[in-house]
């Protein structure tokens, strides 16, 4: 059972690495933003499987923090990528 957990965690990690290819290839900026969300979902899965495999229950809390960090980083990317002129227009009443 433990071997299955570790093998699946490795498999999902390889999927994550393949997804990072999108950061290198992605023609537009938003393709690169996708990776933050990918890390959020995939990272949570890997951490939860590892938490079950090793018995370290603190990894579940780490998975929770990963999910939150994922949203925060996407918000930061989206806000940071809009042109300063757009932000000016948003600030006007």
């Amino acid at each position: 059972m433990n071997e299955l957990y570790l093998f699946l965690a490795l498999f999902i990690l390889l999927n994550l690495l393949a997804g990072v290819l999108r950061v290198l290839l992605g023609p537009t900026l938003q393709d690169r933003m996708l990776t933050a969300q990918l890390f959020g979902t995939t990272g949570v899965a890997i951490l939860l499987i590892l938490s079950e495999a090793t018995g370290v229950s603190a990894l579940r809390d780490v998975a929770l923090v990963f999910a939150l960090l994922g949203v925060v980083s996407v918000v930061a990317f989206v806000r940071g990528s809009s042109a300063p002129q757009e932000q000016e227009e948003r600030r006007k009443p």
Partner: protein, 100 residues
């Protein structure tokens, strides 16, 4: 291995398969809106199946509730992130892919 262990193994393998499907979609789909579909739907489904399998192995009810809350939070996070990224793509003027 008991019935519970077999069930967990089946659910975990199914979840990993959906992660693979999401990654293939991420790499192969033609534009950013399609890639958002693959990422949000397939990966979250894979995560849901994985968490379901892990819930069966939990030692106590508090672990089950914690796993359920993590799943709900990731669902919310994924939906909000997809909305934000798609909005940013729309504002930048990226047009959806059409079959030529």
């Amino acid at each position: 291995m008991s019935v519970l262990d077999w069930l967990t193994a089946v659910l975990l393998v199914a979840g990993a398969f959906f992660f693979l499907a999401g990654t293939v979609g991420l790499l192969r789909f033609p534009d950013v809106y399609n890639r958002l579909h693959a990422l949000t739907k397939a990966d979250n489904l894979g995560l849901g199946l994985t968490i379901l399998g892990l819930m069966l192995q939990a030692d106590s009810w508090s672990v089950v509730v914690k796993l359920l809350l993590i799943w709900l939070l990731v669902l919310l996070a994924g939906a909000s992130s997809a909305q934000l990224i798609a909005g940013s793509a729309r504002r930048t003027g990226i047009r959806p892919w059409e079959r030529r």
